[in-house]
Point group: C2
Chain length 249, copies 2
């Protein structure tokens, strides 16, 4: 009888092969089957063993890539054969990685699991733009949120953008006007510094500065494209200078 294999979820960092960790490279080299997401740097696969099977499961919007049920089936089959499956995710596997479903597949089979953290895109973007995500006496917390929400009503992120915060929006390009107008309607000063970071962590990265009041216009004029991170910084001093009050939730 074959023993059950192992599932390793691996954060590969944001699209640049040298933002991979040594641990991730080692686990990639030990895997029998690699299931690779779309935004993973292709050079990362060079760490794979020569005999490993590599399957591109990248899902671009509307491209008919391998769907989640198909990915789950590949994982189940390989684990049942006793193989080590490496699931390569861009960034960090626990941030917008939809890890739960795949972990459940492995747990249901009694397989060993391991998770290797990675540099999530917001961290690489902050380094590219030299933005401190926290700052003593000014920024006490930072939050990561996706701009896409199923709910059409007031989005959850309105309450995150408050004095003392830095908020990183993933996938915000199409939502630029909604972000700008919703935040300003809820009391955020139009003078807040914003920053778009396109292709974070990569050599073709681009950073574009602006203010909340011209956020959408900046994105359009500069033709910002995904993958992009949008930072909205709301230092305590900005709240004091405009006499802003705390936004209620």
């Amino acid at each position: 009888m074959t023993s059950i294999g192992k599932l390793v979820l691996i954060g590969c960092g944001p699209g640049s092969a040298d933002l991979l960790t040594f641990r991730a490279a080692q686990r990639i080299a030990s895997a029998d089957l690699l299931l690779v997401d779309r935004l993973v740097a292709r050079e990362v696969i060079a760490h794979a063993a020569p005999a490993a099977r590599i399957v591109d499961v990248g899902k671009a919007p509307g491209d008919g890539g391998v769907q989640q049920a198909g990915i789950n089936h590949l994982i189940r089959t390989a684990l049942a054969e006793g193989r080590t499956v490496a699931r390569l995710k861009s960034g960090d596997p626990m941030v917008f990685g939809r890890a739960t479903e795949e972990l459940c597949e492995a747990v249901a089979l009694g397989a060993e699991i391991e998770i290797v953290p990675g540099v999530t895109a917001a961290l690489a973007a902050a380094s590219d733009a030299a933005i401190s995500l926290t700052e003593r006496a000014e920024i006490q917390s930072f939050s990561v949120v996706t701009a896409r929400t199923a709910d059409a009503s007031t989005p959850d992120w309105v309450s995150l953008v408050r004095p003392g915060s830095c908020t990183a929006f993933y996938m915000g390009v199409a939502q630029a006007w909604r972000i700008q107008s919703t935040l300003m309607a809820n009391g955020a000063p139009g003078s807040l510094a914003i920053e778009w970071v396109e292709n974070a962590g990569r050599t073709d990265c681009r950073t574009i500065s602006g203010t909340l009041s011209n956020l959408a216009d900046t994105a359009r004029r500069k033709r910002v494209r995904n993958p992009a991170i949008l930072f909205v910084r709301y230092p305590l001093s900005a709240a004091a200078s405009v006499g802003a009050v705390r936004i209620s939730g």
Copy 2:
């Protein structure tokens, strides 16, 4: 005349040498002077060039380590001599890294700067504990905050712990009772799942589960010690099941 050197802020990940990125290792190898924080894994320094000067600038509470003014002086002197200075920070340099002051030193001299992102402790802790920081239809955002705040009044993090959120507290051990009591007094259900992760990313990592209502007691009985990350997860379904309302800010 000597040209001005270069300052590289490097995120070294949370205390485990194999959570270093390839880019970080390469920049460490290129530096003339390494200024190393306390929680950086000692094996990381093995990437340094043989001729490099290595200065431990770790600041443990009350140990009389090199103070910030001294660090700034070392940076200024080395940059003026045209050297490449690598500032090794644990985790990610832009998360509680007090990067701004050191970057300003370099900018004032006209030095080149580079920032290399790293795996921040919350990401490593989430992987260790297999906690998804976001989860479709349940957790829409995650936030990182330090439990230590200068202000003794209602802390900023009260408003972050809300339905649809996951909050990671850095350095929360001494504040465990305050976190528990303040959140519950502001309407968070005592049944919320919490997780302590001690020594995230390291082989001696330890994860301890509990609920918000026994958060402080769990930390005391299990003798949780820093460095530790505390996660408080507040899925949307938890809010629905107790009929909780949104907490106002």
